[in-house]
């Protein structure tokens, strides 16, 4: 089956689990931000784990299907339509050849995942389909959707008609954190200030990281020597602003790492867009 990209949407990428194990060469992990939704979409389609999924951002793509297949859409609410008829998310949906999938503008949240039942024929680089954000021309990467591009899939017909159990936690603003390696360099009053403040996600936020606007906090006097950073690492910049690193972030950094988010919190954050407000909560035994 061939899918033709009629409109790519705002920023639609093809993602899998990413390429862990290359960070020591400076190569970021990449991969779907909301791993839980990624897994769920593949599970209800009967796909193998790590089958690629389209990650759409705020404005979804318009895709033409040349033959029949099954799809599932989950994540932030984006009102998917087949030939202009809205259908329910979190279900396996049958698409017929000649039909077009499109989306209404996202009403809430940020990212939606489009799974397709079958085996994707798409180039992997260092074991992953996920695009490389640094230093590789976007035009050369088929995992960043572009107008007119085609995607080749050998469809399967695994009959699993399960409705996804979707947690209704995507609108929550609390982001739970573990202590990061430099947590103890910050005074208790500074930590308290950070935990009480509300932070707004800055316009200049993406899969590399979320910049935040809100209370600046006091940074430690001690300068640190550059060390590894991970998806979900919360650093405090020299200006005292927190920044949350995500899957496409660089692999080392020199700002103090105050918190570390676990995958669950990253999953939630994947549905926050610029302008949304979050608060940090420290896990009890974090």
């Amino acid at each position: 089956m061939i899918i033709k990209v009629i409109k790519p949407g705002m920023f639609s990428t093809i993602q899998d689990y990413g390429r862990s194990g290359w960070q020591h060469k400076g190569i970021p992990v990449g991969g779907a931000l909301d791993r839980n939704t990624f897994d769920q979409v593949n599970t209800i389609l009967g796909n193998d784990l790590n089958t690629p999924v389209i990650e759409a951002t705020i404005i979804g793509p318009t895709l033409y299907f040349d033959s029949a297949c099954r799809i599932a859409v989950s994540g932030s609410l984006m009102r998917p339509k087949i030939d202009n008829e809205v259908f329910e998310m979190n279900h396996v949906i049958q698409i017929e050849g000649g039909q077009t999938l499109s989306f209404e503008r996202m009403s809430m949240g940020c990212r939606t995942y489009i799974g397709i039942g079958g085996e994707w024929h798409i180039k992997r680089w260092l074991g992953s389909v996920s695009p490389m954000i640094y230093g590789v021309n976007y035009d050369l990467q088929s995992s960043i959707l572009k107008k007119g591009q085609t995607i080749h899939i050998t469809t399967n017909q695994n009959e699993l008609d399960i409705k996804l159990k979707v947690k209704s936690d995507k609108a929550l603003k609390d982001i739970y954190c573990h202590k990061g390696p430099e947590f103890n360099l910050f005074g208790q009053s500074t930590i308290d200030l950070l935990l009480q403040a509300e932070y707004k996600i800055h316009q200049n936020s993406n899969r590399m990281g979320y910049r935040l606007t809100g209370n600046h906090i006091r940074t430690p006097d001690k300068k640190m020597i550059s060390s590894a950073v991970l998806p979900g690492t919360v650093q405090i910049t020299n200006e005292g602003a927190p920044i949350i690193l995500l899957n496409d972030a660089q692999t080392t950094g020199g700002y103090p790492r105050i918190f570390q988010l676990d995958q669950h919190s990253i999953n939630l954050l994947a549905h926050k867009k610029p302008g949304d407000v979050i608060t940090f909560k420290l896990l009890k035994n974090g």
Binding site: S20, G21, Q23, H24, K25, G26, I27, P28, W125, L126, M132, Y134, G135, V136, L140, H178, K179, G180, P181, M224, I225, S226, S227, A228, L230, G232, Q250, T251, T252, R257, Q260, L261, D262, Q263
Partner: protein, 245 residues
């Protein structure tokens, strides 16, 4: 012996910090520990290892209740490690750099702040033999050190939005090469025509932690010849390696 401290880094990683200083001695200890982890029994529970100047971060694939057992095993491994003087073959690269004013974007800033002529800066920079202390920041970006004190210059106050691919920069006592175009705050003094990151190559990143690097000044004509040779597959990158025996 390795002096270290283990710090928690979320539920899926631990951080081993050695003495927090930038020195060849510490860096070699990190390398020894990195190699030991790679070949240890613990490897099967490890998703990734990220060595840095004076630390190693280990990503683990185990449940949170098994993390403390894992940490104990890591401690055992570290305490039984022997820092052998017998390092594996260290590769020494000679990388061409064109210091022409077209590429040396911060030549003026360097000259006025370091109180050296640009020719003296070129000589100092290309006299040294540097070690790759860390790979990070960008795919294939080597943190090289240690520069002579006379080249010690702080980063730009405001990072440049676009640093061209191949740019050779200095910052503090470090020097590095931007393998890809990127924003950046290092003082740019030249450009290296040899790609340190090649998306299409079988092994996309040229340098490795622990490698040694020397810079050899080339003029613009040679710079463009080298680029052309590389693009026409006429350049064997292994020729840039010094025979170590």
């Amino acid at each position: 012996m390795i002096n270290y401290e283990i710090k928690s880094y979320g539920p899926n990683a631990i951080l081993i910090e050695l003495e927090q200083k930038i020195s060849e001695e510490i860096s070699l200890k990190v390398n020894t520990l990195y190699d030991a982890l790679q070949t240890s029994e613990l490897r099967r529970n490890i998703k990734f290892i990220i060595p840095a100047y004076a630390s190693i971060t280990i990503g683990v694939d185990i449940s949170i209740d098994k993390l403390s057992d894992f940490i104990n095993e890591v401690k055992l491994l570290i305490e039984h490690i022997s820092i052998s003087q017998n390092q594996k073959n260290i590769r020494t690269w000679t990388l061409p750099v064109c210091y022409d004013e077209e590429f040396a974007l911060d030549a003026y800033r360097c000259v006025s702040n370091l109180e050296l002529t640009f020719q003296e800066i070129i000589e100092l920079h290309s006299q040294g033999k540097y070690m790759v202390y860390m790979m990070g920041f960008l795919p294939g970006f080597p943190y090289l050190g240690i520069l002579p004190e006379r080249l010690n210059l702080t980063r730009l106050d405001k990072p440049r939005k676009i640093v061209p691919k191949g740019s050779v920069g200095i910052a503090g006592l470090q020097t590095g090469i931007y393998p890809v175009q990127s924003p950046g705050g290092w003082n740019i003094i030249g450009n290296c025509p040899i790609p340190l990151f090649d998306y299409y190559a079988k092994s996309p990143v040229l340098l490795e932690r622990g490698d040694k690097v020397k810079f050899s000044p080339v003029d613009k004509k040679r710079y463009h010849e080298l680029k052309k040779e590389f693009n026409n597959n006429q350049l064997n990158l292994l020729d840039l390696l010094e025979d170590d025996n």
